[in-house]
């Protein structure tokens, strides 16, 4: 929690001694206070002043007492006949949206009193906060508020960004080098834990969505490329071009060390992502240089990623670049490029996932890029409605993957499971609902046909369970999962 301190700076500016005129009776000269304005207005969290109170009492000043809403705030001892006291007040969280009344009381040696009243109007607390530079301290983004990413924002290593349930994060407009994105580099953490009733939503500033809403009030779920995406980078191993131990993530210039990922700690912990919905992102940087909805670069196995939704991303939905992180309960809807993409010898499991309509391939599954490889990655319990995708599964000769329990439907001619890798790869328990008059081998090439059985629409016995997506995901709320089990 951010600690609020208030500052009160008071000092005596000028004093001069009163010389007595013998034993004559001293007349009562009274006391005045000047310089305090009657009213002022500041923003929530803003600071009043400094304003300068000037007190005068020929009989000699004693003190200035300041109260806030009747409660004592400060007492300043005074002396001499004239004194000035500068006063400033930083608004406390509780002041937001209120009028605060300050009373200034000056007393002189013979008990005369002068008062000044100041009414400070503190604006309502901002519910939209614009983040313009990297986070250099740990922060919490609070429930009920909207945070705007004004560009490429990284949480500097050593810090943790906590995002409370229901927070909406919106990326500002920008493509190329100006694409807005949230980056969790190596050594930084994100604790973004939403709930099944209050997911954390990442979207574009064009989206009029407010905290508490699930469906966008104004944007079509196919609109993409309106901002960047969420990039999480870690220190787990990966198989990189040129056999380097670390490499730069696409979308971030090589000169920014916050874009480096990879290392030798497979149990690395980048934090927690739960009940996250990422929408309308994927701004293009250059050819082969794009931002995915959720990028996981060398993210380690201690990181928890569960209940994730990516909608309308111009590039891939979820892409792993090496690492060991597992992802459970993921849905990708209307990816502009591939829905599910794995590279650089990722070594984790994707369990219970749904793909609805991809732009290119439903699965783009690559192998290692360097010589490092440590077993296969696993994708299991998935349901795929291919719709307008260019293909079902795109394997390479060196794709180190095990795929099982996947149900494909909504497919059409030209969409294929393209090849069997020449490296060990296991395919089992695929089911498919075929268009009329077609055969399994029209779509499933290589050994994948042997793993596939045809079923009637909705008669699948393998595939994802859509229950975990109910309520919080826009895909489910919109009805796009009605055809899924």
């Amino acid at each position: 929690m951010k600690k609020f301190n208030y500052l009160l700076m008071l000092f005596t500016a000028a004093t001069f001694a009163l010389t007595s005129c013998g034993e004559d009776e001293v007349p009562d000269n009274g006391v005045t206070i000047e310089g305090i304005p009657a009213t002022a207005t500041i923003e929530a969290g803003g600071t009043l002043g400094p304003v300068t109170a000037t007190a005068t009492a020929l009989d000699g000043l004693v003190s200035l007492v300041i109260t806030k809403d009747g409660a004592p705030l400060a007492t300043v001892p005074l002396s001499g006949t004239t004194a000035s006291a500068p006063f400033s007040y930083p608004a406390e969280p509780g002041d937001a949206g209120k009028n605060v009344v300050f009373e200034f009381t000056v007393t002189d040696t013979d008990g005369d009193v002068a008062k000044a009243t100041h009414v400070l109007t503190v604006g309502a607390e901002a519910t939209t906060i614009r983040i313009t530079s990297n986070l250099t301290t740990s922060q919490t983004w609070e429930t009920g508020k909207t945070y705007i990413l004004a560009g490429r924002i990284a949480v500097e290593p050593g810090n943790t960004l906590t995002i409370e349930p229901g927070v909406v994060v919106k990326g500002e407009v920008g493509t190329g080098a100006n694409a807005s994105a949230l980056i969790i580099p190596r050594g930084a953490k994100i604790e973004a834990v939403g709930t099944a009733t209050q997911p954390i939503i990442f979207t574009t500033v064009a989206d009029e969505l407010e905290p508490g809403q699930i469906a966008s009030p104004n944007l079509d779920p196919e609109l993409n490329g309106l901002w960047g995406g969420l990039i999480v980078l870690g220190r787990a191993k990966g198989s990189f071009l040129g056999n380097t131990s670390e490499t730069q993530i696409e979308g971030i210039p090589a000169s920014d060390p916050n874009g480096l990922f990879g290392g030798d700690n497979d149990a690395d912990d980048s934090g927690t992502l739960k009940y996250i919905s990422i929408r309308h992102g994927g701004a293009n940087i250059g050819e082969g240089n794009e931002i995915n909805g959720l990028t996981l670069g060398s993210v380690g196995s201690e990181t928890e990623v569960e209940f994730v939704e990516v909608i309308g991303n111009q590039d891939d939905g979820i892409e792993w670049f090496g690492g060991t992180v597992d992802v459970k309960n993921a849905v990708v809807w209307n990816a502009g490029d591939d829905a599910i993409d794995a590279d650089m010898a990722w070594n984790g499991t994707l369990d219970n996932f749904i793909v609805v309509n991809a732009g290119d391939k439903c699965f783009e599954l690559d192998g290692p890029e360097g010589s490092y490889v440590n077993g296969n990655y696993t994708m299991t319990n998935g349901s795929v409605a291919a719709d307008d995708a260019a293909g079902l599964v795109d394997n390479d000769a060196n794709t180190n993957v095990d795929l099982s329990n996947i149900y494909f439907f909504g497919i059409k001619a030209g969409q294929t499971f393209d090849q069997t890798p020449t490296v060990p790869a296991a395919f089992s328990n695929f089911q498919v609902t075929l268009p009329a008059g077609t055969a399994i081998t029209d779509f499933f090439l290589g050994t994948s046909a042997e793993a596939t059985t045809a079923v009637a629409a909705g008669a699948n016995t393998v595939g994802a369970d859509k229950a975990p997506f109910a309520g919080w995901s826009w895909t489910a709320v919109s009805g796009a999962l009605d055809d899924f089990k």
Binding site: N134, R152, E172, V173, G174, T175, G176, A177, N178, T204, V205, A206, N218, D220, E222, L223, N224, G225, L226, W227, S239, L241, G242, N243, T244, E246, T247, Q248, P253, A254, S255, D256, P257, L260, G282, A283, N284, I285, G286, E287, G288, N289, Q314, D315, G336, D337, D343, G359, D360, E364, D366, P368, E369, G370, S371, A390, D394, D396, N398, T399
Partner: protein, 957 residues
């Protein structure tokens, strides 16, 4: 077309205005043979008339004579007298006796007699400059341009020993890359026209505005210190000796490129034929950076902002693909006019030249590929990642004009020169693209349209003054130059095959506007004092110069997001109205500006270089000449620009502030009268460019490559190992030259040279270990270059007297370079070494050619007017790009260039000249290849320029 006619009309008016004559004029220049310096006070007598003249401080004289045939006697105390016989002068004619060399007389009253017809402007004057120059220098003059038939400075200068040309534009001297070669115009700095280079593009200088090109290969204190290989000085035409008005036309026909109905071009502007765009390619936003963006208007397309967005979207030129139609052949037009008008006490000269060239190239099946080392280190052969093969057409237009006036009095000379060059190049390409990179396997059809406009305007005001006879010579120059490079509307479109999909994987349609404006201001003062030092004639030189340069660079690029639009595959229908975003079509095609709010692809820079020098030319013994000097340069460079997310902002910040002293020693020992032995030891510098010394992060949206400014550091191993510290400094170079030279009569010569250079912290483009697609200038380990040069010009008369008119020229440069690799490069090479491969920590320098050979046989017959030459040029395999990560080194494959040229002069006074030539007789290809340990070479680029037949006619009025 109307404009051309008007143009011609102006020419004719200009030429007819100067027809006036009754007497003839004889003009000439007299030099001292030993020093190559003009002789002052030489008596020139017309024997038959007993009239005469005396040469001025430039060694020049002028005589007015009635038409007739005369004998001229040139005499000077203690010099051998020259008699020139049978000099026929017609009414109104100017006879020029150029380059008369007088020898100090060996015996009493010796006289040399020559037939006037045997005197010609040849290389001999330049040879005499070369022979007597304090430093190692070479050059080529206007007379040779004609003989070889070269049309621009770039093709002409490569005839000079040790000079090679890269990409038809950039000069390399002694194989050292463009970073180490400096190009100046009339001795002063001019702005470059390419933001990625230090050197000037040479191909924009037509030879008809050039008097000669001098290449200084060793440093003397009066030269700028920022060169290593050489400084190339393009001298534009000066005081004409005689009235000349010439009109020339030329043409070129290449069977593989011209009248080819498959030629590719695209619809441009109405003034493309003049070398500039008429606004057709103007940016639809007017360059504004406050334009609305898609995400701001998608929710409300008909708001004022939304309407503005929509009208911008509709204002982009809709042509994205080229047209196949028949190509024209190359043609050119040149006109020059000049005269000298002698008035009492003052001589005036003027010079005007115009040139126009229109050249067309077409490359069929051009290849641009990306190959890499496979991940498995046991596999040696390279694997393709991207293959791009297809056709492209280029139309290049050059328009140039030069105007100069000069004035000479008894003791002073003033010159004022204006030069403007305008060049426009339009390109259209149609390629098949095959991607196999990183598992994304697809085929695509790619369309490229580009236009590049370059303009250079230069003013030169200079003066020369002689005081106290020739004791003091004072030279000053003032030269402002403005240059502009524009690439308006580079268009790129790629469709995935077979469904014509446009997406992020295949690349989004992109439009780019790039501008570079540069201004140079140079002021220069040189003082020369003849002095008696150590009891012999010597010279003291001192002076200074001031250079101010300012550059403004900006790229604005747009990407087009396809939304949910499906395409037909016709590039010209991508921007059809029905595809574009509007109220009804909210997920339609739209544009995204990449430069808002931050534009890391923009910078302003300026530099100031204040130089001062002094040097002395001494003659410690009769045979030894020593030139000793020191130069000081105070160099400051300022930069304004940001990195990609504007977290680092430099606002006119000083990025370089160097004060250096550059000592130079040049010794010339005359072994014999016609033999010199030269030795020189000098210090020079190579400084980082504007862009290099910055925090720029410049992404090329088409290649996907990024340029990263040199001030960013790189580390690895989680930040524990620093690969580059971000402290980019200038390179200091020590140069040592040794040369033996032999000069023989009629311009024959033979020389042998050796040179050795050491580079302290040379700058190279290094890729990031973590991202091979990002390039950064870094100081790498120290380097050395060792080289030998041979140069030979020989008349074949020695073989047989019948071959007297034939001469053979040969020059060759052989070099061995070595550089210590940067830590990043060494590590990257070690990590990707193939099985059985050993990795050294040194390699050759990038851009350094291992050998350059020029040779040719020429034929000259002055009496019949025939000139011919057969010339061969080749440059050894040169490291082009340094390999990194899985990328390998690329090497240029030697291009065996064999050209033939034939000239014939006709008619009375040889008023008509015709020439004919054949270029690239061997039909060689321009190729760059990927090369890796025990792997088959693979093409990086592969272009067939074909063989071109050239012809031209010149008519002198």
């Amino acid at each position: 077309m109307k404009r051309t006619i008007l143009f011609l009309a102006v020419f004719i008016l200009l030429t007819t205005g100067f027809a006036q004559a009754q007497n003839g004029i004889i003009r000439g220049t007299i030099f001292e043979e030993a020093s190559g310096e003009p002789l002052y006070g030489v008596s020139v007598l017309v024997k038959e008339l007993s009239t005469g003249a005396v040469t001025d401080f430039d060694g020049k004289f002028e005589l007015q004579v009635a038409p007739g045939t005369y004998t001229i006697q040139v005499s000077y105390l203690s010099y051998t007298t020259i008699n020139i016989t049978s000099l026929a002068v017609a009414a109104g004619e100017v006879k020029v006796l150029d380059d008369l060399l007088m020898k100090e007389e060996a015996s009493e009253l010796e006289t040399v007699t020559v037939q006037a017809a045997a005197i010609r402007t040849t290389e001999s004057a330049l040879m005499s400059v070369k022979r007597n120059a304090p430093n190692v220098m070479d050059g080529i003059s206007a007379s040779t341009f004609r003989q070889i038939g070269d049309g621009d400075a770039a093709s002409a200068v490569k005839r000079v020993t040790g000079v090679s040309i890269e990409g038809g534009k950039y000069v390399y001297v002694r194989g050292l890359g463009d970073r180490y070669t400096k190009t100046v115009l009339n001795g002063v700095d001019v702005p470059g026209l390419d933001p990625d280079r230090n050197a000037l593009q040479m191909d924009i200088f037509p030879t008809n505005v050039i008097d000669n090109i001098l290449v200084s290969k060793s440093f003397t204190a009066d030269l700028p210190a920022d060169f290593t290989g050489g400084v190339v000085d393009i001298e534009t035409k000066d005081f004409p000796e005689e009235k000349s008005a010439k009109l020339s036309i030329s043409g070129g026909f290449n069977p593989s490129m011209h009248f080819n109905d498959q030629y590719l071009s695209y619809e441009g502007g109405k003034t493309d034929w003049l070398g500039f765009d008429d606004g057709t390619r103007a940016i639809p936003t007017g360059g504004r950076t406050d334009i609305p963006q898609f995400a701001q208007v998608v929710g409300n397309p008909n708001s004022p902002l939304g309407q503005e967005f929509q009208s911008t979207l509709r204002a982009f030129n809709k042509t994205l693909g080229g047209i196949r139609n028949s190509s024209l052949m190359d043609f050119g037009l040149g006109f020059s006019l000049g005269n000298q008008l002698a008035r009492p006490k003052v001589t005036w000269g003027y010079n005007v030249a115009f040139t126009y060239r229109n050249e067309t190239e077409y490359y069929k099946d051009a290849e641009f590929n990306l190959f890499a080392k496979p991940a498995d280190v046991g596999v040696l052969d390279l694997e393709p990642l991207e293959e791009q093969k297809g056709d492209y057409g280029v139309n290049n237009v050059l328009l140039g004009g030069l105007a100069g006036i000069a004035m000479k009095t008894e003791t002073s000379k003033y010159k004022l020169n204006f030069l403007h060059l305008q060049n426009g190049e339009s390109k259209a390409g149609d390629f098949m693209f095959m991607n196999t990179n990183l598992g994304a396997v697809f085929e695509a059809r790619q369309y490229n349209l580009e236009y590049s406009e370059r303009a250079l305007s230069s003013v030169l005001l200079s003066g020369t003054h002689f005081l106290n006879g020739r004791d003091w010579e004072i030279n000053w120059k003032l030269a402002p130059t403005i240059s502009k490079m524009d690439d308006p509307d580079i268009r790129f479109t790629r469709f995935r095959i077979p469904n014509n999909i446009i997406g992020t994987e295949v690349g989004l349609p992109t439009r780019i506007w790039r501008t570079l404006d540069e201004m140079n201001l140079v002021g220069k003062l040189d003082l020369n004092r003849q002095a008696n030092i150590l009891g012999r004639n010597g010279k003291i030189k001192f002076g200074g110069n001031y250079v101010y340069k300012e550059r403004d660079f900006n790229i604005q690029s747009f990407q087009f997001t396809p939304g949910n639009i499906t395409f037909t595959g016709d590039p010209n229908s991508v921007l059809n109205e029905e595809n574009l975003f509007d109220e009804e079509n909210r997920n339609g095609l739209r544009h995204n500006p990449d430069f808002i709010p931050n534009n890391p692809n923009a910078y302003q820079s300026n530099l100031t270089n204040i130089g001062a020098y002094s040097s002395a030319e001494l003659n410690p013994s009769e045979k030894l000449k020593a030139v000793v000097g020191v130069r000081m340069e105070k160099y400051t460079q300022f930069y304004t620009g940001t990195n990609a997310n504007a977290s680092i902002v430099l606002d006119n910040e000083k990025v370089l502030d160097d004060l250096d002293f550059f000592p130079s020693l040049n010794l010339i020992y005359a072994l014999k009268e016609n033999q010199n032995l030269r030795l020189s030891a000098t210090r020079t510098i190579a400084r980082p460019s504007f862009k290099e010394l910055s925090y720029a992060e410049i992404l090329d949206p088409i290649t996907g490559r990024s340029f990263i400014g040199g001030l960013f550091p790189e580390s690895t191993d989680g930040g524990t190992t620093v690969l580059w510290d971000g402290n980019l400094i200038a390179t200091r170079i020590n140069n040592f030259d040794l040369r033996w030279e032999l000069f023989q009569e009629r311009g024959q010569m033979f020389s042998l040279s050796a040179f050795y250079k050491t580079f302290n912290s040379p700058i190279e483009m290094v890729q990031f270990l973590s991202d091979p697609g990002s390039f950064q200038p870094r100081n790498v380990g120290n380097g050395t270059v060792l080289g030998v040069e041979v140069e030979l010009r020989k008349s074949l008369g020695i073989v047989s007297p019948k071959l007297e008119n034939f001469s053979w020229t040969f020059n060759a440069t052989l070099t061995e370079s070595q550089i210590k690799m940067s830590a990043t490069e060494l590590r990257s090479r070690q990590l990707t070494a193939r099985e059985g491969q050993t990795i050294e920590d040194t390699r050759e320098m990038a851009g350094q050619a291992p050998y350059i050979i020029n040779t040719g046989i020429s034929y000259n017959n002055f009496t019949t007017g025939w000139e011919a030459g057969l010339f061969y040029n080749v440059q050894g395999p040169t490291l082009n790009l340094v390999g990194f990560g899985n990328r390998t080194d690329t090497f240029t494959v030697p291009f065996n260039s064999l050209n033939f040229n034939l000239n014939k002069s006709f008619g009375a006074d040889e008023r008509i000249q015709a020439n004919f030539g054949v270029e690239n007789i061997l039909n060689d290809k321009r190729q760059i290849v990927y090369r890796s340990f025990e792997a088959q070479d693979q093409f990086f680029t592969n272009l067939s320029p074909g063989t071109e037949i050239k012809f031209g006619f010149t008519y002198a009025f």
